[in-house]
Structures are given as structure tokens and as C-alpha cells.
Symmetry: none
Subunit: 315 residues, 2 copies
């Protein structure tokens, strides 16, 4: 081991002093990497997180393809090999084999990696659950009532015991009022990824499932005043906003998400998000829509609620 360390330090130095066009190669430490398992993977982002062993030590290796830059295009087009996959009318697809130096893969090695590193990068599979109105009553509601996840932090916000300085807008009405504040995921540095949450002052509305036509004044109020507050504070009109609820929500106190249209906020997919405008329309035409309808949502493999659905033979 000690010898190896010396060798690596040398390689470091050499690279620091490397001449252009004659860049020294690092020792390919990955040649001896033994994959244990793939922790996670993104086809969209072209990345993969791998757990394995590097010289008998636990290691995590992260590979991520690099963005295609405009200044590499001319060379990429002239110096690559092209293999035809498909042709139909004016459309054709190919596989392009680029010169390696134009098409690098960003590689991050964590070694030795602790169990915490491994867990951090471990992706959980998700499953789509189909929940009928009866499933909600017999499986989900008892689970929500028993679960211990505290929403004290929500009450702290509503009572100004915490985050009071972060509030963007508030309507104090106990029935239709709400607090609007930035979501933690938003750094508030630019509106391109604007993300705010409206939390109702009314307590006891757990989720979409509890909503009936009785709640229409509350929903209208959040929709209208939330949009107006965002227009005033961030100059963003309602045509640039995606306003929606989650089902399942991550906490069971009614809240509404306001995100910028075009920003692909986590959880804005059709499998989890419900546009507030649709919710209002559906309740207008059927007061019991969300009590009776079958709802679909993803759950992670390690979610306790998923086990409940499995135990009930519903998955």
C-alpha cells in the first residue's frame, strides 16, 4: 500500500507539470476496481454510481458523461465514425464513435468509502401503487394515523416559531388562509428554479384524499392569492407557474407547490403531481372525486406504506 501511495503522488506531480500535447497518463487505478453492485444510475443524465473494491478497500466510483460543447463540434463531425441505425423519411439515426479525447467521462472516486457514502448514493427502486378509495380507508389512512413522523415543524411555521423571516406572503384567515414560503430546495438566487410552498392554516386536512367541494374556497384562495403574491414579489405571471399538490405528499398537512414552468422540479411528474386547477375542476363537477377515485403514485422499495400494500395483496 505504501509503495502505491508514493507512486500516486508522483503521478500527481507529473500531471501538474504536464506539457500540452504530451499529457502524462495517470496510473489506471480503475483497472483493478472490482464492482460489487450498481448503486444508482441515470439514463437521462448519463451517470452511474458504483460500489466496489479498490485494493481491498471499499470504494464508490461515479461516472458521468460530459456535456457536448459547441467548440468541439467541428472536430467531432470530421473525426468520428458514424454507423447507421435507422432511416425513415427525412429522419435517420446513427451511432457516432468520437475520438476519445473529445468524449471524456468524468470520474469521481471515493476511497476508502464508508457505509454512509454507499447509502448516500444507493438508489431505491420505485413502484407505482394503485390505490382505490377503499384501499385508502383500509390501508393508507390507518398507516398515516399510526406513523410517527412529526409535523411539529409545520406548526412552528404557522405559529411563527420558526422560519418567520422566510415568509413571502400570509393570509391569516383560519379557514382559507395560508403561509407562502420558499421551499428548502430553492436557493432563491434566480427565479428559473423558483419553488414555493403554500401551507394551509386550517389543520387536519391530510392530503388530496380529504378534499371535497367544501374546500373549494380554500383552494381558490390559495390559487389566486398565491399567484398574485408571486407576481408581486418575483414578477412571474401565472402563465409561468406550475401549481400542484403531491399525492402521496411527504407530510400529511395540506400544502400546495408553486414551481416555475420549465424547471423540472423533483416530484413534478404526472405520477405524483396533481395540478391545482384540475383538482378544483374535478371537485366542482364531483364533490367526492378524490374520496372515490383510484389514485396512482410511486413508492420507494423501502417505504413502509409499500409493505402495507403488499401485505394486503394489492401489489
Amino acid at each position: 500500500m505504501r509503495q502505491k501511495k508514493v507512486k500516486r503522488a508522483k503521478a500527481d506531480h507529473e500531471i501538474g507539470a504536464g506539457e500540452i500535447g504530451k499529457e502524462p497518463e495517470s496510473e489506471n487505478i480503475l483497472a483493478e476496481f472490482k464492482t460489487t453492485n450498481v448503486l444508482s444510475f441515470s439514463a437521462r443524465e448519463k451517470s452511474i454510481f458504483i460500489h466496489g473494491k479498490l485494493a481491498d478497500q471499499d470504494a464508490v466510483v461515479i461516472l458521468e458523461k460530459t456535456p457536448i460543447t459547441e467548440d468541439s463540434l467541428a472536430e467531432l463531425f470530421s473525426d468520428s465514425r458514424l454507423k447507421l441505425d435507422m432511416r425513415n423519411d427525412i429522419y435517420s439515426t446513427y451511432r457516432l464513435q468520437a475520438p476519445p479525447q473529445l468524449n471524456e467521462i468524468k470520474t469521481t472516486v471515493v476511497c476508502p468509502a464508508t457505509e454512509k457514502h454507499v447509502k448516500k448514493y444507493q438508489r431505491q427502486e420505485t413502484f407505482l401503487v394503485e390505490e382505490t378509495g377503499e384501499d385508502y380507508q383500509s390501508i393508507t389512512l390507518p398507516y398515516i394515523q399510526k406513523q410517527s413522523l412529526s409535523i411539529q415543524w409545520v406548526y412552528n411555521i404557522l405559529e411563527k416559531k420558526a422560519e418567520a423571516e422566510r415568509i413571502v406572503y400570509e393570509d391569516l384567515d383560519p379557514d382559507v388562509g395560508f403561509v407562502l414560503l420558499p421551499d428548502f430546495k430553492w436557493d432563491q438566487k434566480q427565479v428559473d428554479n423558483l419553488y414555493l410552498i403554500a401551507i394551509t392554516h386550517q389543520r387536519g386536512i391530510r392530503s388530496l384524499r380529504d378534499l371535497t367541494s367544501e374546500h373549494l374556497p380554500l383552494l381558490h384562495n390559495i390559487f389566486q392569492k398565491g399567484k398574485a403574491a408571486i407576481l408581486q414579489r418575483y414578477s412571474l405571471p401565472s402563465s409561468k407557474l406550475r401549481v400542484y399538490l403531491h399525492y402521496q405528499p411527504s407530510y400529511y398537512h395540506l400544502h400546495v407547490h408553486f414551481t416555475k414552468l420549465g424547471y423540472e422540479a423533483p416530484g413534478c411528474g404526472v405520477e405524483r403531481a396533481h395540478l391545482l386547477a384540475d383538482v378544483i375542476q374535478n371537485l366542482q363537477s364531483d364533490p367526492e372525486y378524490y374520496r372515490t377515485r383510484t389514485l396512482y403514485f410511486p413508492l420507494r422499495a423501502d417505504d413502509e406504506l409499500l409493505s402495507k400494500f403488499k401485505e394486503a395483496g394489492r401489489l
Copy 2:
């Protein structure tokens, strides 16, 4: 041009008959591509959309790096060059130069490309449009009827004049039948970003707006047989699938998207996607649901339909 076409047809044939390990190279048509401008770019997705000229014809070239697959890892680790960028404590980063055949770039060429194609790929701001049933009749429908974007390529698929070998499953019934095939966006190398499209044999159903309870047998058929075909071919159960329609769709011939749950496919956001299971439920309880309901969807700043909504004072 004629000569070129003959050569390409030959290449097609050769690839169809290609032997493993001795795959024929396509003519590198991109060597003569002249970039006009970059239409859009995603650092997150490692893709770039380029407008330019190919033998004096307008063309759009789309480059997208391919996902890193688990089965390529062993070879990738052993056969790559590694260049150290940074080392700090247990963390180090490198640039990895992979063998070209392990690190291909998916390339799509549209040629000749129309102005509409160029616009389609040009990055634009989007606006959320609110379309009532009346708006559809007075604004959207006349626009669809007048627009010139050809769907000949859809008919080519249905008539087996193109992409016949890509078909994963087909139900030939003229009323409830459909063709299931991989979407262009999917390279079919791993199921993690599975993306298939079911295209109905029945013609004349433009979109969600045309659906009534009459179409329930068609929708049920696509849902059930599409899921069964995916289970059989890719071993992916329905609990791992997100099955949905787009509104507005990108072409006005009814089609259904099947994507892997957890893969954030472009267009799977709540503002554009409608779960097929929800569509079926909504039509079951109200046969005219999609004819009468106000629908919300994003439109790009340069979309002609957006101008129509503006002209009508609806935005």
C-alpha cells in the same frame, strides 16, 4: 443526389446483414455538415441540437451521449485511459477516455429539415395555456386542421413501409389495434430509460380532446396489451411503468407513451402528461370529460398556437 441514395440503400442492406464484429461503417455524412447555430443544449442531459447545412440542404443534427450501462463497466474500467484532475482526502476526480465503441453518441439527423423542425428544437420560453372546451373548438381545432406538419411517417409505420423491424408488438385490429415500438429517444440498450410508443391503427383521433367513452375499448386494449407486451419482451411489470398521453401532443394521431417509472422522460411532467389510467377513469364517469374540461398545457414562445391564443385574448 440519386447516386447518394443508392449508396445509402446499400449501406442499409449491409447493416441489416452485418456480421458481429465486422460491422460495416456508414458513410460519414457529418464530415460535410456545416453548423449554422446551436438551437439548444442540455448540460444535464449531455445533448445538443444543431442547425446547419448538409449538401446545401437545411438539416438538424441532434447529438446525445448514451447512458453508461452496467454490462460495459468491466471493459470500460480495464480498457480506458485515466487522467487525474484533483485529489483531496478520500475524494479524487479523473477524466476517463474510453474506447470509442464503448462510448457512442446517439446521433439523429433530420434532412431536409423544415422551418418547423428548426423551431421545434430551438430552445424557447414556455407559457401555460388554459384551454376551455370552447377554446378548443374556436382556436385549437382550426389551427390543427390548417397546419401543415405531415404525419406521413406515422402512416409509413402503420403500413410497414418504414421501421417495420423495430415493431415490438402489434394488434392488427382496425378499431382497437395499435403498433408498439421504441421511441426515437430510447437507444434500447437498457430498460432503465425504456420508452415505447403505441400508435393506434384507427386514424382520425387527433388527441385527448377527441376521446369519448366510445374509445374506452381502444384505450383498455392499448393499456392491457401494451403492458403485457412490455412484460414479455423486457420483463418489466406494470408497477414499473408510467403510461400516459400528451396534451398537446407533438403530432395529431393518437398515441400513448410507455416509459419506465423513475426515468424522468422529457414531457412526463404534470403540465403535459395525462396518465392513461386517469383518462380511462374520467371517461368512465363522464363520457364527455375531455370534450368539456378546461385543459392546461405549456406552449413555447414561438408556437403558432400560442399566437392564436393571444390573438383571441386568451393569454
